[in-house]
């Protein structure tokens, strides 16, 4: 009886679906005309929250990514994803907000009157901006007021100190209740809206040596829908994994090649960190990384793929490959291991602290330091303020983006 109770209760908490609200047929977004890229750049900035502080805190960052207007705030990692544009007398945006650390969500609407910056924005003129709007909770209609006023525009890409907001598992974990599954092309596309400039993805070998993107060692109901196969990934061929496995939100398990193709041609990601779970995969991974880094260079794309080294076994497999010097490495072990491998990047665990001395040593050698995987909001803020890292891996790229842009705009 106790076993039944335990099992039943645990099932209540394994649900990774979050019912995101939608304006449905009440949306006006389709009526809007898209803004120009210059107008979008003029909207990017830090805004003071005059009303709506309960939801958004004191300041938010607004940033356009392609057709999505993203808003990043601090309380519980709040963020909003909106679409919109010019709607005759106003600039109008609609979407949903969500707290990254919890399951709270709701609808959100914004407008900018012509007289409060809208007219100038349409004509690509820098101007003070006041955004007014409403938000609601869960599926209820927005009714609580928000007012934002522009404090400072974001620096240009050239002016910004280079810092990598790198999203874990392609953008976040399935357990973060995002609308797409981890380690998929859809997740990487979503990660751009969340402010990520780079991603970390996990690779595993199938039985017939296809390099697949999947985190856990086994097919399980945590990451996949219930299906006919369970157990170690390495027991199944590529065809079996593609045919018989559906990830949590229904996607097929992608190959590494598919992920890299997608990133190279369909995103503006600049950094890809491959977390190889199998030492044997180095035989296939290294040539692929060489191929894609070369392709990116030829296309004029600012994108680099690096091979991650989480343990000594993977490190040895990398060193034993004849072409290892032609692919950049990210070593998670000690500074002397970084030197042994001649890795371009040192990737320490955040729980070791800011390690100022070690980071200085790494920088003096012309290398970069990127720490993982930092999710705690309080520590994240301290590490951004006090650390000298060149990037951070996180499951909450919206929150890291917020802290980063606020620091850059000081």
């Amino acid at each position: 009886m106790i076993t039944v109770l335990v099992t039943a209760c645990s099932k209540l908490y394994d649900n990774y679906y979050l019912n995101l609200p939608s304006h449905g047929d009440q949306t006006l977004v389709e009526e809007t005309r898209p803004l120009t890229e210059r107008s979008k750049v003029l909207m990017d900035g830090i805004y003071r929250v005059e009303k709506g502080n309960d939801l958004l805190g004191d300041t938010v960052v607004l940033k356009w990514h392609k057709e999505m207007l993203s808003m990043y705030g601090k309380p519980q990692g709040v963020y909003a994803l909106m679409k919109g544009g010019d709607l005759d007398s106003v600039l109008f945006f609609q979407g949903y907000w969500r707290r990254a650390l919890s399951d709270e969500t709701g609808l959100i609407d914004f407008y900018i009157r012509r007289s409060e910056g809208g007219a100038e924005l349409i004509h690509e003129i820098a101007t003070p901006i006041t955004m007014k709007g409403l938000y609601g909770n869960d599926l209820s209609n927005p009714s609580d007021r928000i007012v934002l006023s522009l404090i400072k525009r974001l620096p240009t890409q050239k002016e910004l100190q280079r810092f990598g907001v790198i999203a874990h598992r392609g953008g976040g974990r399935t357990s973060d209740k995002l609308p797409v599954s981890e380690n998929t092309p859809k997740m990487i596309e979503f990660a751009e809206y969340l402010g990520a400039k780079g991603v970390e993805i996990d690779t595993r070998l199938s039985k017939d040596d296809s390099v697949m993107c999947y985190h856990d060692s086994d097919i399980n109901i945590r990451l996949t829908q219930k299906g006919p196969i369970m157990g170690p990934v390495e027991q199944y061929t590529f065809n079996q994994l593609r045919t018989l496995v559906r990830l949590y939100h229904g996607e097929q398990m992608p190959t590494l090649r598919e992920m890299l193709e997608f990133m190279l041609h369909k995103t503006s990601m600049t950094f890809v960190w491959l977390d190889n779970k199998d030492a044997k995969s180095m035989e296939k991974t290294i040539p692929m990384v060489m191929e894609f880094n070369k392709a990116a260079k030829e296309m004029g794309r600012d994108m680099v793929v690096v091979i991650g080294m989480p343990n000594a076994e993977i490190m040895e497999a990398y060193l034993n490959h004849p072409d290892h010097k032609r692919v950049p490495a990210l070593c998670e072990l000690t500074v002397s291991d970084v030197e042994k491998v001649n890795a371009a990047i040192w990737g320490p665990r955040w729980t070791m602290g800011i390690q100022s001395q070690e980071v200085k040593t790494i920088h003096s050698q012309g290398r970069f330091a990127v720490l993982w995987t930092l999710d705690d909001p309080v520590f994240m803020h301290e590490f951004v303020e006090q650390g000298e890292f060149d990037g951070m891996l996180t499951n909450y790229p919206t929150l890291l983006s917020y802290y980063y842009y606020v620091k850059m705009c000081r």
Partner: protein
Amino acid sequence: MKKLLTTLLVVLFAFSLVAEEKKKEFDIVERSIMMPKEYRFKEMNWMFGFGFAKVPFDWVEMALQAPLFYLHGNLGLPYGFVANLDVQTLFVSNQFRLGLKWNKQFGRFSAGVGYDQAFMFGRMNFLGFANRVTGWTAYPNVSAGFVLSKNIAFTLNAEFPVITHMRRTAGEIETSTDRNAFVGPTVSLFMEQRLYKNHILILGVKNSFTKYFFPAWMAFSTFNRYYYVPELFCGFKL
């Protein structure tokens, strides 16, 4: 031979009389440590045990069962009050609890209400960690007991932990929060049964619906949602 047999019979008969007397003397209420019973002034008892908790996969990304070692003692006070001390340790995670309860018995049933104040601390300086944590937690609690027979009793306990202060370090970075955070209730069921002589076996299951589980502090979980953390408990009162 006759003398030896007679001696043996007398010894056996005397032993059976003593055993019968011991069996008659045993009373689970008298010997219980989990039940919210009324203690005599300065009456003391203690028990030791261990528990296995199943930490949520989302927090640690692997199947992890954490064994916790327990030491628990009660001291009877006047007017139905009892003081209790509770020590839980996983070596990298530790908690000390001091509390006060007021208990009342109603025949086979009993009930109690109490408040515990806990200090927890943890330290981990290996395997990629350079972290410490200290914190204070309040545990208001209620319990109910039921005596099934002379040898068996059940106790149902509910507690509602509130973390009032927490300090954490990562290397040279230190953070602290002072916020009364209710992390979720724990409901436990214990069975106490006579093992042999006056010794008691305690079996229990603790069900926490919680956002935070102190033995797993090093997971630094950020999920602001309730998780089910079951724990099986086995203890002995000798």
